[in-house]
Symmetry: C2
C-alpha cells in the first residue's frame, strides 16, 4: 500500500500521522510545495504581534521529525503538478532543482489548501501589499512592521484580518480595517458583531464598513489606498484578507468534480469522484451539518478531522465525515466572539423557520469578583425546540458556552435539554443557573408558549405600540429606547391604571427577566402585551449606533 499526500499542513499532516498509526507497513509520501509542514496557521498574526516571539513555536512539527517518528517520506519544496489517474501517478516538480519526476500511488489524498483571493484592483501587486497564508508571508509582513511603519490598511474584516488589526495595534501601527459588508466577521449575525465594532474602535482601530479598497497607489510615504467612498488612507503596509479560493487546479485538471465556488467535491467518506483519491481541508466542498447543503468552510479543526478520516478510508475503514458545523471563535482586544451551527442570516436565506433568544448573563456568579458579561444568542426550531445554532460575544466564558452548545447541536438536543443541563457550579466558574440553563429557560418558555415574546425587529410592525420600560427610574434616566415610558416592575401592579388599554404593549427591562414578570402581570390585567426578547441589551446590539445610547 502506497499512500501519497499532496499538502503537508493541517489536513495533510493529520492524514499522514494517522496513516502511519494505521499501518506500520505502508509507504507514505507527503509532498509540500512550501518549505514547512504542519505549521500553526492560526498563530501567524500573533507572531507578527510579538505575542509568540519565537518563530519556531509556529512549527508544529518539522519534516525531520515526521521522517524520524512516523517514517514518512516528506518532500518539501515539491509541487505536485498533475495527476495521471489511469496510471495512478503524480508528476512532481522539485522547486529547488527544477527536476520533474513521477511518483506512483495506490491511494491519493489531496490537501492543497486554499489561496488568498487577490482582488483585481490597481496596485494589488505593489511590494508592501500582502496576503497572509503561510510562514513566508508572515516573515514578510513582520519584516515590514519590524522596519517601523506608521500606518497599515487591512482589506477584509474576517478572522485573520481582525486578528492582524489587533496585532498591528499591539506593535504601535495605526490601523484601518475595511469591509464591504456592514459588519465584521461575515459568518456572524450582524447584531452580534456590534460589540466587536466597539472593541475595535476602543482598541484604536479605524473600522470602515461598507467600504473596500478601490485602488492602491505608490507614493512618497508609502501607499495611498483609495476607498469605495473616494476617501484615501495612507499606509506603508496593506494586507488583503478578502477570502480564500480552494486550490483545486490539480483536481480539476485531473477531471475531478468541483463545486460552483471551486471546492473539490467529496462524498461523506471524503472521496472525490475518483474512489482512489480523497480530498480534505480548505480545498474541499463539504456538507453543512445543519442544512445538509454543500458548503466551504476553511477552518483548521475540520481540516484536521478530515485528514484523519480520509486516512481511515484510504486504509479501508469506513469512516464518515458528519459535515461541518462551522464552530469558530475570535479573540479581539480582550473580547471573545464565537459561534456554532446555523446563523439567523443563513436560516433566513434558506427560508427555514426558526426562533431565537438572547440572554446577557455574567460568566460566573455575580457575587464573586471578576464576573464578565456576555451576550448569547441561541437559535432553534420553533416547533420542536431543536437547537440550530448559537453565537456569543463578551469576555471570559464565551468559549465554554459555545463549546457546550456545539456539542448540544451535534447531539441534536433541544432547548428543553438545556434547561436540564447539569454544569459545573462554583462561584468562580459559573452559576447555579448557568447561562446555558438560562438560555434553555427562555427558549423553552417560548416554545411552550408560556408567555408572548417579541423580537426587536418585529416591534416596528405593531400598530402604535407602547414601549414600557419596567427598569428602575435610575436605569431609565441613564438611557432607554426612544419613546418608552417608565413604570418599574416593582410598582407595576399598583400603577396599572396609568397604562392606556387598547394599545399593544412591549415591555422591556435590561435583559428580559423583569420584562417577563411585567408581561405576566399585564396579561393578567387584560393587556395586549409582549416581552421584548433579551431586553434593552438586545435592543442595543441591534442599535449600536443609536444616538439614544449612552451606556
Amino acid at each position: 500500500m502506497k499512500l501519497v499526500i499532496v499538502g503537508g499542513v493541517a489536513g495533510g499532516a493529520s492524514a499522514a500521522a494517522r496513516a502511519r498509526r494505521l499501518s506500520e507497513d505502508a509507504d507514505i509520501v507527503m509532498f509540500e510545495r512550501g518549505p514547512d509542514v504542519s505549521f500553526a496557521n492560526c498563530g501567524l498574526p500573533y507572531h507578527i504581534g510579538g505575542v509568540i516571539p519565537q518563530r519556531d513555536r509556529l512549527l508544529v512539527t518539522t519534516p525531520e521529525r515526521l521522517r524520524e517518528r512516523f517514517r514518512l517520506d516528506v518532500r518539501t519544496r515539491s509541487e505536485v503538478e498533475a495527476i495521471d489517474r489511469a496510471k495512478k501517478t503524480v508528476r512532481v516538480r522539485e522547486l529547488n532543482t527544477g527536476r520533474v519526476y513521477e511518483e506512483g500511488y495506490d491511494k491519493l489524498i489531496l490537501a492543497p489548501g486554499a489561496a488568498p483571493i487577490r482582488p483585481p484592483i490597481p496596485g494589488a501587486d505593489l511590494p508592501n501589499v500582502f496576503a497572509l497564508r503561510n510562514l513566508a508571508d508572515t516573515d514578510r509582513i513582520k519584516a515590514v512592521v519590524d522596519g517601523g511603519i506608521e500606518r497599515a490598511v487591512i482589506v477584509g474584516a474576517g478572522f485573520i484580518g481582525l486578528e492582524l488589526a489587533e496585532n498591528f495595534v499591539r506593535r504601535g501601527v495605526r490601523t484601518t480595517i475595511l469591509d464591504l459588508n456592514k459588519q465584521v466577521l461575515a459568518p456572524f449575525d450582524p447584531e452580534m458583531t456590534a460589540p466587536l465594532h466597539a472593541a475595535l474602535r476602543e482598541g484604536g482601530v479605524e473600522v470602515l464598513l461598507g467600504q473596500s479598497a478601490e485602488a492602491i497607489a505608490a507614493g512618497t510615504a508609502g501607499m495611498a489606498v483609495t476607498l469605495t467612498s473616494g476617501d484615501t488612507r495612507s499606509a506603508q503596509l496593506v494586507v488583503l484578507g478578502v477570502g480564500v479560493r480552494p486550490e483545486n487546479k490539480l483536481a480539476v485538471q485531473a477531471g475531478l468534480e468541483a463545486g460552483p465556488r471551486g471546492g473539490v467535491r467529496v462524498n461523506e467518506y471524503l472521496q472525490t469522484t475518483d474512489p482512489d483519491i480523497f480530498a480534505v481541508g480548505d480545498a474541499v466542498e463539504t456538507t453543512d451539518f445543519g442544512t445538509g447543503e454543500r458548503t466551504q468552510v476553511p477552518l483548521a479543526g475540520p481540516a484536521n478531522r478530515q485528514g484523519r478520516i480520509a486516512a481511515d478510508n484510504a486504509f479501508g475503514r469506513k469512516a464518515k465525515y458528519r459535515g461541518t458545523q462551522a464552530t469558530a471563535i475570535l479573540g479581539l482586544f480582550g473580547h471573545t466572539a464565537a459561534m456554532t451551527g446555523l446563523s439567523e442570516k443563513a436560516l433566513k436565506r434558506l427560508g427555514r423557520p426558526y426562533r431565537k433568544v438572547y440572554i446577557h448573563p455574567a460568566h460566573h456568579a455575580g457575587y464573586y469578583p471578576g464576573a464578565e458579561g456576555m451576550s448569547l444568542k441561541v437559535i432553534f426550531d420553533p416547533e420542536s425546540g431543536r437547537l440550530l445554532g448559537a453565537q456569543g460575544v463578551g469576555g471570559a466564558g464565551v468559549d465554554k458556552r459555545i463549546d457546550v452548545l456545539a456539542v448540544a447541536v451535534q447531539a441534536g438536543m433541544t432547548v428543553f435539554d438545556l434547561e436540564e443541563a447539569e454544569l459545573c457550579y462554583a462561584p468562580q466558574f459559573g452559576s447555579a443557573k448557568d447561562p446555558i440553563n438560562m438560555a434553555g429557560f427562555v427558549a423553552g418558555g417560548l416554545v411552550r408558549g408560556d408567555h408572548p415574546q417579541i423580537d426587536w425587529e418585529a416591534v416596528a410592525a405593531l400598530p402604535n405600540p407602547l414601549l414600557l420600560d419596567v427598569r428602575t427610574a435610575k436605569e431609565f434616566a441613564e438611557s432607554h429606547i426612544p419613546g418608552a415610558v417608565n413604570v418599574p416592575v416593582d410598582e407595576l401592579r399598583g400603577r396599572l391604571a396609568e397604562l392606556p388599554k387598547g394599545r399593544p404593549v412591549v415591555a422591556y427591562c435590561q435583559v428580559g427577566q423583569r420584562g417577563y414578570l411585567a408581561t405576566r402581570v399585564l396579561m393578567h390585567a387584560g393587556f395586549d402585551v409582549r416581552n421584548l426578547g433579551g431586553g434593552y441589551k438586545t435592543y442595543l446590539l441591534h442599535n449600536a449606533g443609536d444616538p439614544a445610547r449612552k451606556a
Copy 2:
C-alpha cells in the same frame, strides 16, 4: 390555589419565583427558619477569606425584594413544625415571638435542606467548633478569624472543607485538614485527587489522610485536637465538615417516606408519597442519572433545577426531573478539579463494566503563551463506547471540558462522537484537536480495538513485564517508572534487537501518544506489547507518593 413552601434558600426560592411566573393569581407563602432567604451558599468560604468582602453580596435576594417583585408572602424566622396532611395545613412557630399558628395549603413544597453532621466526639460542642451551613455560621467563623488566630483544624476534606482551607490560608491561618478517606473529595476517583493533595501542601495546608478527629479538648491557647493516629494539633478554630444529613424530620413525622440515608422519597415529578406534597434540594433522595439508583447529592445546581420543576408540577404541568448527574467543581489554590457522571469507584461498586482513558493535554495550543496543563479521565462503556463519566484536574479550561462532557453524557453520546466534536479553536482558546477530540481518539481506538492498551493497575498482573520507556534519554533521566528500560521511540525501529522477545512489553511515554506509536511498531515486529494508558503522567497520578517521582 395556595402554595406553601418550606425553606427559602436554593430550592425553595427557585420554586417560589417560578410559581409566581406560572401564576399571577396564586397565594404563595414561603417559610424560612433563618433570617435570610436565597443566600449564596457557595460563596460563604470566600467571604470568610475576604475574596467577597461585602457580606451583602451573599444575599442573592431579600425577603423585601421577593415580596415586592414576586408578591411572595415571605416569612423568615418561621419554623414549620408539623404538617397535617388530612387538613392540609402546616403548624408554624414564629421564632422571634414564640407564636404558633396554622397555615393551610393546596400544594406544599418542602425545601428544608440538609444539616451538617456533628460527629459524636468529645468537645464537638466547644465554643469555637463550627459547621458551615449558613450566613450565621459564616459570621461566627469569620469573627473568630478576624479576631486573629494562629491555627485551624478542618475535619473533612469535602468541597466546603477544602474551600475553607484555602480561605483560612488566605487569612494567614495555619490550617490542618483531616479526612478519614485516603483522598480528599470523596466523589472523585483517588488518583485524580493526587494533584489536589500536592496543591494543598504547596499552598501551606497540612493534609492528613486516613485521619479524623477523635476528641477536641479546651486548653489555654485554644483547643487540642486529638487525631486518629494519637497525635494532636492545637487550634483556635475547628470546623466540622464531615457531611450533611437531610432535614427530613418534618416529612417523616408527617408519614412521608424517606430512604435509608434519610432523603425524602420523591418520584420523577419530585412528588413525595403524598401527591400534594413535593420535596426538593438537599433534603431529597433523587435518582442517579447514570445508574438509575437512588442517591443523595447535595448540590446547588440540582436544588435550583428541582425547585423549578416542583413548582411546574404543583401548578399542574408534568415536568420530569431527569435525575442528578453529579456534576461538581472545585477551585483550589489555582487548581481546578471537576467531574460529571459516574466515577470509576462507583462503577466498581456497582460491578458495571467500563473502560477508561487518561489524557494530559494543554488547555489551549501549546505554541500560544500561557497554556496550562490538565489531566482528563473519561469513562465509558467498553462495548458501545457510550460515555459514563469524566473527571478533570488541572488549571484553566478544566471547567470547559467537564461542562462539554456533562452535556455529552446527558445526550447519551459515545466516545466516537467526541472524535467528531467541532469545538472553538483559536490558539488562545483551544487546539485544532481539542482535548475533547483527543479523549475521543484514544477512547475510540480502544473500543475499536485498534491497539492494545493497559491500565496501570493491570500491569502488576502481567508475568515479568518489560517496562519500556520510549521517551527521550533526557526525560528518562529526570524520572521514570522503577525498573523501566529506555529506548526512545525515534530509535525504536532500529533497536528492536535489544528487546527480549517472549516477555510482555508495556510501552509508555509521557502521555500515551509516543507509546501508541511504539506499540504499533512493536506489534508489527511480533512483540507481545501494550501501551500504558495515559503514559507516565497517569502513572504519576497513581503513584503520587512514589519515591521515584521527582517531577
